[in-house]
């Protein structure tokens, strides 16, 4: 199979151009909001909270905060990227172009994931100004970053295809992803919860992401790191399957 590389490049460049055109909302504002978390939870409140798992609270929340941004931004970038042409009607061009589903997805998801990665790295750098942290397993840290950006950009892509209004586009990130992320152990270790809620929490997929990511920083985690890797790979496989189905059937794209 030969890939239409010009097409992948065209979509990727087009989407990245959109990012840089909207630099304020796509890069700067998430960095600012994360900085605010650091100021409030890390410096102000964090100084009164004892260490968690032997790590200062300010440092403890860094992996969770990065995951929080990575998740929400990946979803919103990718969903917006494919929803806009659907909404404006310019999707006709994508549908009539000599490109396959694989190329379309690489272009859109690749651009959204790249943007999230840039953002993740920027937040990591920003965090340095507020707290000291260490990264014990840099390779795994990078792997978690890339896998999460990729997986949730795919999830966002699915969302963008499913959504038929701006309202619906917002509903899943606001009503499902936000709560899951907040309750996913970004700001606390799940061992701090009562036993019943610890069990409930294990059904939250975000717990595995945050836990694995935190392990790559500090070597300690709520759940086994293998489990974290499996969870994210499983979700990646699920998203891939759904996208395959979408293009096979033309769901919400073609009649």
């Amino acid at each position: 199979m030969t890939l239409n590389l010009h097409a992948i490049r065209a979509i990727y460049v087009f989407e990245m151009a959109r990012t840089f055109r909207t630099l304020m909302q796509s890069i700067i504002s998430p960095v600012i909001s994360t900085s605010l978390y650091f100021v409030v939870f890390g410096a102000a409140i964090g100084s009164r909270i004892q260490e968690v798992d032997g790590i200062s609270y300010g440092a403890f929340i860094i992996p969770g905060l990065i995951m929080l941004s990575l998740l929400t931004e990946s979803i919103s970038n990718a969903s917006f990227g494919i929803y806009m042409p659907k909404y404006s009607g310019t999707i006709y061009e994508i549908l009539s172009a000599p490109i396959s589903a694989v190329e379309t997805v690489i272009g859109y998801v690749g651009a959204a994931a790249t943007k999230s990665l840039i953002l993740g790295v920027l937040i990591l750098i920003t965090a340095r100004f507020f707290v000291d942290y260490e990264i014990q397993h840099p390779f795994w840290m990078a792997a978690f970053l890339v896998l999460t950006a990729l997986t949730f950009s795919m999830f966002g892509f699915i969302l963008g295809i499913w959504a038929d209004s701006f309202e619906r586009l917002q509903v899943v990130p606001l009503l499902i992803v936000m709560p899951l992320t907040f309750l996913g152990g970004s700001f606390y270790s799940i061992t701090m919860l009562p036993p019943f809620w610890q069990t409930v929490t294990l059904f939250n997929p975000v717990v595995y992401l945050v836990s694995g990511f935190r392990w790559s920083f500090y070597g300690s985690s709520d759940v086994g790191v293998e489990l974290s890797v499996l969870a994210i790979l499983g979700f990646l496989a699920l998203c891939t399957g759904i996208i395959w189905y979408i293009f096979r059937t033309g769901y919400r794209l073609k009649v």
Binding site: A7, P85, E93, P98
Partner: protein, 311 residues
């Protein structure tokens, strides 16, 4: 392999939408390489559905379509890379610059970057001066030009223009006709849908009429005009006639308007119209008239008659 004579071969094409609406009912059509084909039909006749299936935007329910011999489903890359589409709706990437959106289209169709070609396309469409403007800043007519530029950016061999001049000013319409002729000279096959008959009359080599999802007729434009293009002379009489006088018998005459008007039909293309002889005969038989009027049936009437006849 020799190039197939047909740019597009459509066989038994049908489309039923999920709501049960049958937009196409077994259409067979061949578009010849290098021709300008006009697809005429009232709103909702199936013109846009037909185009959308060929271009890959709508899935067919049955039948096959080949583009230069390539099946549009099995061999979609080869088929689609030959096609440029200018859809009816004005849909543009509002926030992009003109040049970026046109370059994007070229890439999407798998063509390598070619700034000279993009410049030529933009200049031909009088868009070069506006290349750095954002698309949203342009007027409706200019946006239409941008959509044409996008379709031409990847040097298609077949160009679909879906209602290209709907809501377009006179200047752009003239430019567009000019452009279509130039493209045809360079070997591009052009399929345009329209419900402006004059557009088809002016441009097309062949005309297809579609109604209720069925192709009612496909004919050379000139032959169609000749076959069906009749001219009429109406003679408004001073005093009404009950019957056509025997002295005038043998001529294609009819009485209308309660005998006040004598209608004479003749072939618009013929050398001799027979009008001087008719007028002479009227004078000789003492039939006085107040007024004379001739009119030619336009493609519009031909079309309306066809559609009505098969409705």
């Amino acid at each position: 392999m020799h190039a197939p004579a047909s740019a597009i071969e459509i066989r038994g094409l049908s489309k039923t939408y999920p709501d049960g609406f049958q937009a196409l009912k077994g259409v067979d059509l061949d578009i010849r390489s290098g021709e300008i084909f006009a697809l005429l039909g009232p709103n909702g006749a199936g013109k846009t559905t037909l185009i959308s299936v060929v271009c890959g935007i709508v899935n067919p329910s049955g039948g096959t379509v080949r583009v230069s011999g390539h099946d549009i489903i099995r061999d979609f890359r080869a088929a689609r890379s030959l096609i440029g589409l200018v859809p009816q709706e004005l849909t543009v990437e509002s926030f992009e610059s003109v040049i970026a959106t046109v370059k994007f289209s070229r890439g999407l169709f798998g063509k390598k970057r070619d700034d000279a070609h993009i410049e030529k396309v933009l200049r031909d469409l009088s868009l070069w001066e506006k290349r750095d403007n954002r698309v949203m800043e342009l007027s409706g007519g200019m946006k239409r030009r941008v959509m044409i530029a996008k379709a031409l950016s990847h040097e298609p061999k077949i160009l679909f223009l879906d209602e290209p001049t709907a809501g377009v000013d006179v200047e752009l319409r003239r430019d567009m006709w000019e452009m279509v002729r130039r493209l045809r000279e360079s070997g591009v096959t052009i399929i345009l849908t329209t419900h402006y008959i004059e557009e088809a009359e002016e441009m097309a080599d062949r005309i297809g009429v579609i109604n209720h999802g069925e192709l009612v007729l496909v004919e050379e434009k000139n032959r169609l005009m000749k076959q069906l293009g009749r001219k009429e002379l109406s003679v408004h009489l001073q005093s009404p006639l009950d019957t056509i006088p025997t002295a005038l018998a043998g001529r294609p005459l009819e009485l209308a308007d309660g005998g006040h008007t004598l209608v004479y039909s003749f072939d618009a293309q013929a050398e001799e119209s027979g009008i001087p002889e008719l007028l002479k005969a009227l004078g000789e038989n003492g039939i006085d008239f107040r007024d004379l009027r001739t009119r030619e049936s336009s493609l519009e009437e031909i079309f309306v008659n066809l559609v009505r006849a098969r409705a």
